[in-house]
Subunit: 196 residues, 4 copies
DNA sequence: CATGAATGAGCATTCATTCAT
DNA sequence: AATGAATGAATGCTCATTCAT
């Protein structure tokens, strides 16, 4: 029991260290000692806090999902009109650059979901929540409900794909073109002119 | 020069074995001995053919890219009208299910592109070629050139994203809904009614 | 000096816990954390009471030796005639079954004596005391002194050996046959008919 | 398949090395690196030959059992008369000194039998075979069958016990007194005068 | 006095690579 | 050319010990 606060704080540090390590070396090259080094701990200490390494990975994924979602939620809260909200959503939904650690971790662990139910659930949860964000805004516009759902899903999908290419250093996909393309889609789908 | 044909054949077998191994275990869990076992060889033999393991990975990626692209090209060659071609493209561009080995490998190695230029180039090349396929069809329709390019890029992006979620076992994304959403997008963008 | 009584009590508990742990896992598999768990303590607390782990082992051995010896002494104190005393000695000298913790610990630590003088001394002491018990009884019978000593030593040896096989789960040695064989020996050696 | 002879030879070396390591450090202190060092190999190579460490332990036990048994069998084959055979058996059945590696290993692994069926079976097998050796000789003497069996079992038991004390460095048990006591027993049991 | 959170040394094990055949 | 037996470097993990509380 004693000193659970230290425990919690230390675990947060390890999650952050793991996020940096995964961003730097990828899931394939991830070593406990890398996480330990990022966290300024010994490898044994990482094992002490996370007896099962998969638990750490799950918490890193959960943390990245939350982090990404809340950042987007805050982005639209600061804006009043639907058009502005859509623009804000798209802006926050596309990685600013290839080295955004949260996005890199998300793609690493989303792909890991192919072999792991926990990560599949986390990936699904993020997708659903992101779609909800778009749906919430789109439903204030004169679209019928079914169309709004499709557009919301497509918008999130476009973000995911362009994000994958940005993180993967696709030479012909930049954050700017990505946003422009997504906004072009939303413009045509909603009839509301949107410019990043 | 001696028996280069056997060499080539053996390397192809190893590439196929590596594709299966990556699909089964992921890039993170990939061991040379797994590849060897899939190929019915000893680990030493895999090292013999691929002194540098990264070379094998690059050839697996190249092979998967080619495989995916040609399959799509053949899909539209069999169809005469633009609408049918778009439908065929979408059908071939979305994984039939979560266990399609070529798609799983593509996502694993696309994510690996974040840390490796060779894989970034391969990912970019596939994206470009896929966009070209769509552009080629879209340009036969009454869209202006810029719009056609954006729509082509968005179509490929939607495929990529929905493919990622299908492969990652997103509980709310099925190949059917994915295709329907992409076709809904293409319908609204082209004015041509498309039904899978 | 402070509260030496608590200290002593706690050390006794740890000795008992160690006896159970050794019986359960063997000396080879013994971990301080096992002892701690048996005692309901943290590993740190065991280290606190026994800075040197060998000290604990020695006290466990000493305790087991005493425990085994006194139990046998009480066994013959309850009986008046030599024949009954021999029968009682044999009964108490053979493990009731393979899972007697005291006997298992004795054999584990007797074998450990091969590499540790302290344990060799404890083993020797138990042997001597057990031989004395037999000698004490046998000398009340019409044997010459030399013969009585040899018979006493052999009786204890038979107990040790059969005990080893009982504890080691020899499929063909049961407590009953063991006792019968030892009593058969004592019968022939003393001329006194002994039946368990 | 290839070169299975080397494999077998190397495994024999490892068994011998493990025997020496167990004799030196005991089962409790046994480390794979000790075995490797004794065998002049790296720890990884020992793991290569014995993926499962318990397999090695079982083979060491089997080897020690065989070794001990055949040595005794040869001992009586060289002698014609029953009395001489009994004397030879006793001589070969008692460790020459506390540092006989085969005997030390036998006791370590016999005690290990308490927690492992395989070792219990090996211990039982050795006991049975040794009893058979005595029985075989005793049945040539004028004892009734039941008595011969009891005497044979007791003789082996006495050897086991005295051996345990010799190996455990009991200060009051020497190979000489052990043999004398066993022969005294056999003399009284068979009526044949036996002197070591 | 007593604890258990935190540590890192030490261990078994895995695995890519080498090299004799 | 092709193999797989043999190796040892690198890794994760277990666990005794420590020290702040």
């Amino acid at each position: 029991m004693a000193r659970p606060k230290e425990q919690t704080a230390r675990r947060s540090e390890i999650i952050a260290a793991a996020r940096r390590a995964i961003a730097a070396r990828g899931l394939a090259g991830l070593r406990i000692k890398d996480v330990a080094q990022e966290a300024g701990l010994s490898p044994g200490s990482v094992s002490y806090y996370y007896r099962d390494f998969e638990d750490l990975l799950a918490e890193v994924h959960q943390d990245a999902v939350d982090r990404f979602y809340w950042q987007r939620l805050h982005a639209i809260e600061a804006v009043a009109d639907p058009a502005g909200q859509l623009i804000a959503l798209v802006k926050a939904g596309v990685p600013a650059g290839g080295d955004d650690p949260t996005c890199r971790v998300l793609y690493e662990l989303h792909v890991h979901a192919a072999r792991n139910r926990t990560h599949a659930v986390l990936m699904t949860a993020l997708f659903d929540r992101e779609v909800s964000l778009y749906r919430q805004v789109l439903r204030t516009l004169p679209l019928d409900a079914g169309a709004a759902d499709t557009v919301a899903a497509n918008a999130v999908a476009l973000e995911d794909a362009y994000g994958l290419h940005i993180v993967g250093r696709n030479a012909h996909v930049t954050p700017e073109t990505a946003r422009a393309n997504i906004l072009a889609y939303l413009t045509s789908a909603t009839g509301v002119t949107l410019k990043g």
